[in-house]
């Protein structure tokens, strides 16, 4: 009986929020067995209502901040423009007015970019273009974006950068992360202050820290710095301008990169340190290799088990491309052997009887043709009929006839789209079965 009642509450309570949920839960309170559960539900409902109210207030304050932050750049643009149009500006001030218009249009553009990013985050559409990223280069580019603002405030930018740090990620988004942290550090620095950008590695992780000796963060606000809209409601943030979305965007991008970000500050006036930790690319750089095969902007390699049970032999002299081909096919469930030369390939065909062969036609000895002729010369039970795809550099349309004549069933042009590669191997494996 107790179990039944419990069941009813569990089934009904979750969709309720706020006062309704509290009332519902309170109405059930007399049932002694459920007192503890009810107390929990009441508390949860109250917490949910309080959180919803806080979020709603933060959003209202954010909208007020946004209209305020957009007002001044717009005033600068419209009034300079009207002065220019009315011809009321002395000629020597024209260049200055145009610069000001451009600068403030840029500020408004950045606001729109930030709002778009937040909208992408909310709808889960902030995608990454993942490649191997040299973090030192990204850090340098980020430094350039804040240099003018730092110079204007006499803030010294200091760096300590480990040039070897490589991660798998989206370089533009990672630059945005560092740039946002540096912008904040400069913004909250006093005139003549210092900002230190550190990039270090510890074997498995890259740590990027941005430290300033400026305004610092109050202890009660520290846990909320990465929350959307929250910083915008902080009086100090309003004083320094901006929409206050930068850190929320930072956290989202870092988490999409499987990293973490945290903020430390000993309090007001004590400066602040923001540290981003990202996993380093380990061993064979799978993502860099993936780029070698996958067309830039093409669909990323899909993972799955479509090639489960299929044995593939890859013949490719270029180590990067070889590893990439192997990675893509293994990610799709194939068991893959990859070799660098035709001689090794002949051994493997005879020994392993692969289901599919994928061979570069332009191996160093230029013997992709020779390889397939020799394989086709073998008896069927020795692997002579293995279905095969030839890889060429570029479309090589004039060679396609020769490739097919030599004994390949398919032709793939490098850089090979990962999904095209998988589709070709699926097709060839099916030919083998038939």
């Amino acid at each position: 009986m107790v179990k039944e009642t419990h069941h009813v509450i569990d089934a009904v309570a979750p969709p309720m929020t706020g006062v309704e949920g509290v009332r519902f839960a309170e109405g059930r309170a007399p049932e002694s067995v459920l007192v503890i559960d009810n107390a929990r539900i009441v508390e949860e409902a109250r917490d949910a209502a309080a959180a919803a109210e806080m979020a709603s207030r933060a959003k209202d304050e954010f909208l007020a901040t946004m209209s305020h932050e957009m007002r001044s750049p717009l005033a600068a643009i419209t009034i300079w423009a009207s002065l220019l149009r009315m011809g009321k500006l002395p000629p020597e001030k024209t260049a200055h007015a145009l610069e000001s218009i451009e600068r403030n249009a840029g500020i408004l553009s950045r606001f729109v970019e930030e709002l778009l990013d937040v909208s992408r985050i909310v709808s889960g559409k902030l995608g990454l273009d993942v490649q191997s990223v040299d973090l030192a280069t990204v850090a340098d580019a980020a430094l350039e974006t804040v240099r003018a603002a730092a110079n204007a405030k006499d803030v010294r930018l200091e760096t300590l950068i480990d040039a070897s740090a490589k991660v798998a990620g989206d370089s533009i988004r990672l630059q945005q992360v560092i740039s946002n942290l540096l912008t904040n550090a400069v913004k909250f620095s006093d005139r003549g202050g210092r900002v230190l950008l550190c990039l270090v590695t510890d074997g498995s992780r890259a740590m990027i820290s941005v430290r300033d000796v400026g305004e610092g963060i109050a202890a009660d606000f520290l846990p909320h710095v990465f929350e959307r809209y929250r910083q915008a409601s902080d009086a100090s943030a309003r004083v320094h301008g901006g929409l206050g979305l930068g850190l929320a965007i930072v956290r989202e991008i870092v988490e999409l990169h499987h990293g973490t970000v945290n903020a430390e500050s000993a309090g007001r006036g004590q400066g602040a340190t923001f540290t981003v930790t990202l996993p380093l690319v380990e061993g064979p750089d799978a993502l860099r290799l993936q780029r070698a095969v996958v067309d830039a902007g093409g669909p990323a390699a899909r993972t799955g088990s479509i090639l489960a049970g299929v044995q593939v032999l890859i013949v490719e002299a270029d180590a990067d491309v070889r590893t990439a081909l192997l990675a893509v096919l293994e990610l799709n469930g194939a068991s893959v052997t990859a070799v660098a030369s035709a001689a090794e390939a002949m051994d493997r065909v005879a020994r392993d009887h692969p289901d599919v062969l994928v061979s570069d036609i332009m191996t160093p000895e230029n013997d992709g043709y020779e390889l397939i002729r020799r394989i086709r010369g073998l008896a069927a039970d020795r692997g002579g009929q293995v279905p095969a795809a030839a890889l060429t550099d570029g479309a090589a349309t004039h060679e396609v006839g020769r490739i097919l004549d030599a004994g390949y069933q398919l032709h793939l042009a490098k850089p090979v789209d990962a999904s095209a590669l998988v589709a070709a191997v699926v097709k060839l494996a099916a030919v083998g079965v038939v």
């Binding site: 001044s72 009034i79 002065l83």
Partner: protein, 120 residues
């Protein structure tokens, strides 16, 4: 007399907006004293309270517009100078009858000129 004063105190944190509005009002024949925050504005005001109007951005650093305003109305020598608030929040103050004119949105030259002409 009051009508002859053509001197405006402009309290605006954004340097570009301040410069643009200053250039505009100067082109219309007004003297403009700019201040980036409430503290500087009070210094100017105390040094010489001869202004026909104060244009006030509420969100300035060091001393925000509200604090400035509270100080300003407390001092008899300066309290008579009318204040025009250039922020959305100004609408709330206007409801209390405390200020005459408010630019809740972006400042446009026509409104700016009409407002300043009205007071000066």
């Amino acid at each position: 007399m009051h009508e002859r004063i053509r001197r405006v105190l402009l309290v605006e944190a954004n340097v570009d907006a301040r410069e643009a509005m200053t250039a505009f009002l100067e082109a219309e024949g007004y003297d403009v004293v700019g201040a980036a925050n409430g503290q500087d504005a009070l210094v100017h005001l105390r040094a010489s309270p001869i202004f026909c109007v104060i244009l006030l951005d509420l969100g300035t650093p060091a001393m925000d517009g509200w604090e400035f305003w509270a100080e300003h109305v407390r001092e008899p020598a300066t309290a008579s100078v009318p204040v025009v608030i250039m922020s959305l929040e100004g609408l709330l103050a206007q409801r209390d009858g405390a200020v005459a004119v408010v630019f809740p949105g972006p400042v446009e030259w026509k409104h700016l000129l009409e407002t300043v002409q009205h007071h000066c």
